[in-house]
Amino acid sequence: MQPGALGVEAGATAVRTPGRPALARGDLVQTLGPSAVLVVLVVVFGLASPQFRSMNNLHSMVDAAAVLAVVTVGITFVLLLGCIDLSATGVMAACSLTTSLLVANTRNALDLGVWGVVVTVLLGGVFGLLNGVISVRLKVPSFMATLGVSAIGIGVATVMFAGVQPGLVDPWVSGWATQRWFGFTQLAYLALGCIIIGWFVQRHTRLGRTAMAIGGAEDVLILSGVRVGPYKVAAFTVAGCCYGLAAAMATSQLGAGLVQAGGGYTFASITAAIVGGTLLSGGRGGVLHSMVGVLIVSVLANGLVLIGVSPYVQRGFQGLIVVIAVGGAAWPLRRRLVVVK
């Protein structure tokens, strides 16, 4: 994992400030800091709780992290641009209802199976495209554009919901959350596939490299004649597709199409990405960084329960550790990050 992450980092630095040594001390902390935090957390929880060390718990944690991982792969592309995407909650709501209504369910006679999931992912992509077009063509700040699209998604989902919850009957989609290969549910493998594809797109395609460069110095790219618009729209669309897949996965886990299927994922995924070292200001980090963040967030949620921290203080404790982790990783960079908004 680390060699890839280091390479990404070096690439980004090269775009931002040509001629600077590939890895200054600050970059090293930013790249390896999150992994170190993850290791510390795992060791501390492992020492404190024998259950935490069990294989069963590893399965349970990975399964719980699967949906968040897919959402975070998507949002990473947008964060690399230096934009933000707050639409995951709404897009997932619409996509969750779509999946549950297109595959075998308790509401209608449709049974499209695989195609139901494909349509869901495409619908997510359409929402992402809408995000991109609104923010790039209409020059609406991505914060506002995606918040609006999220509301549209919730609206669409509410109309589809129509007062009666569609329960999932399709054995294939339900099986994602229950069928296990080598102890892990199929959801974990789906997430893994998505991470590999996301990493490949980010590292080895023009889309990924340009997205990184846009986040580093968009004005420079524009001045050198690169048409950045289409790349930005494409990055939002990739994110939308990820939300669509994540929604289908969440639907499988929850056993029903729910308007609340994406509740909390917007901020959980942004938190995970940033904790992992993908910067809000863009141009730094990447899919693998973000995945370290996903693991940190998941280990925290799981470990705090297992070592018996009272539910009344868990939320506050999580926030505290996240703030310390992010602050610590950004500490050596604080002079170079002149403006933080």
Binding site: S60, D63, Q165, V305, L306
Partner: protein
């Protein structure tokens, strides 16, 4: 940029003017219809005005307001309201405020400002305890009839307002105890349980858990292994249950949850672990999916507050008062716990296809489901 701001100010000017104009028309329409409306709205001794202010049944405006229709329980509320409205030949205005307190207040103000407030009946689910005060004050001032359910600050007394027809709620402590005991019975009276709480600072969550603690105290054979919050949501319940299953494994003999959404999340976790139907699970609120799970034998029990009845009864109470068939001053108990029923495999089928009994909504019967007056 400059042009934009110009256009912005111009737009907002237009909006202000339009709002002013609307305000004017609202005022004039308020005072113009039927003379009987004005004494009720303006007079201070409204008790005397009530008898004279009876509305023609055809003029009564029925309004049901809940958080959203994406929640099966609240959707059934509004369906119940529709059913009552049809029974008296009217239609219900369905309002939803997406769980936003400010939006709820805004909707109430709009409704009260348009149309004849004295013939308006509001059956409201306040977002939080603190939201009830301004809603009741607004209705009182406008002369409309308001019925609130579930949430109310303890020190706000229904008796202090003569346009606040009733406040209906359910005894959460009793509900928590009932499902707790049903759970212990399904476990054969001994073993270990885990509990999923609701939002920790919500009164309903606290009461329900207090009820469980009471049941635990009465049943020394049962041990509470752990209690966690799952925020009343299915997704959180799934994650938390999975973690607790890892921690305690086959020590867990039963799962108590503070609502059905969390119970359904726990069932999903059990299914993923291959334990569905082997560990008793209880919920609360009687949402359709939970009822189905009980009928299928995967879940043990839930509590029915009868959402359809709640949506209908509030409108019925207000309708009876607005048309003069009931007088607020004559109603003995206006703030009460309503009766709730434990749903198990024995009676789940009856709740899966809920029906309203039209005689429940005749004016002589609308206050029949009182379990106990509010303390």
């Amino acid at each position: 940029m400059i042009i934009k701001t110009h256009r912005g100010t111009r737009l907002s000017l237009v909006a202000v003017l339009a709002a002013a104009a609307l305000g004017l028309t609202a005022c004039s329409s308020d005072s113009s219809p039927a003379d009987e409306a004005s004494p009720a709205a303006g007079g201070e001794t409204t008790a005397a005005a009530e008898t004279t202010a009876a509305c023609d049944p055809a003029d009564v405006v029925l309004i049901g307001q809940v958080r959203n229709e994406t929640n099966p329980y609240e959707a059934s509320w509004l369906d119940g309201g529709d059913a009552f409205a049809a029974q008296v030949g009217l239609s219900q205005q369905r309002l939803t405020y997406d769980g936003e307190s400010t939006k709820q207040q805004e909707q109430i103000r709009q409704v009260l400002a348009s149309g004849d407030a004295a013939c308006t009946v509001l059956n409201v689910l306040p977002n939080n305890d603190s939201d009830t005060t301004p809603i009741v004050e607004a209705a009182q001032e406008a002369g409309a009839w308001v019925i609130t359910q579930w949430n109310k600050p303890a020190d706000l007394k229904v008796a202090d307002y003569d346009h606040w027809v009733a406040h209906i709620t359910y005894d959460g402590v009793e509900a928590g105890r009932m499902t707790g005991e049903a759970l212990f019975e399904a476990m054969g009276g001994s073993g270990n349980i885990i509990a999923l709480q609701g939002v920790l600072d919500a009164a309903a969550a606290k009461d329900r858990f207090t009820g469980l603690e009471g049941a635990l105290a009465d049943n020394p054979g049962i041990t509470l292994l752990d209690q966690q919050t799952a925020n009343f949501t299915r997704a959180d319940a799934l994650t938390v249950t999975r973690t607790l299953l890892t921690e305690y494994g086959d020590q867990i003999g039963g799962i108590w949850t503070a609502n059905d959404d969390m119970a359904l999340g726990a069932l999903q976790a059990l299914e993923a672990a291959g334990l569905l139907g082997q560990i008793p699970v209880t919920g609360m609120d009687a949402v359709p999916e939970a009822l189905q799970a009980i009928a299928d034998g995967n879940m043990t029990a839930t509590i029915s507050a009868d959402g359809m009845w709640q949506g209908a009864i509030g409108l019925a109470m207000g309708y009876c008062v607005a048309t003069g068939e009931l007088n607020v001053a004559d109603i003995a108990t206006r703030a009460f716990f309503a009766e709730q029923t434990l749903v198990t495999a024995d009676n789940a089928d009856a709740f899966i296809t809920p029906t309203l009994n039209s005689s429940d909504f005749e004016c002589a019967n609308v206050f029949n489901r009182i379990a106990a007056p509010l303390p």
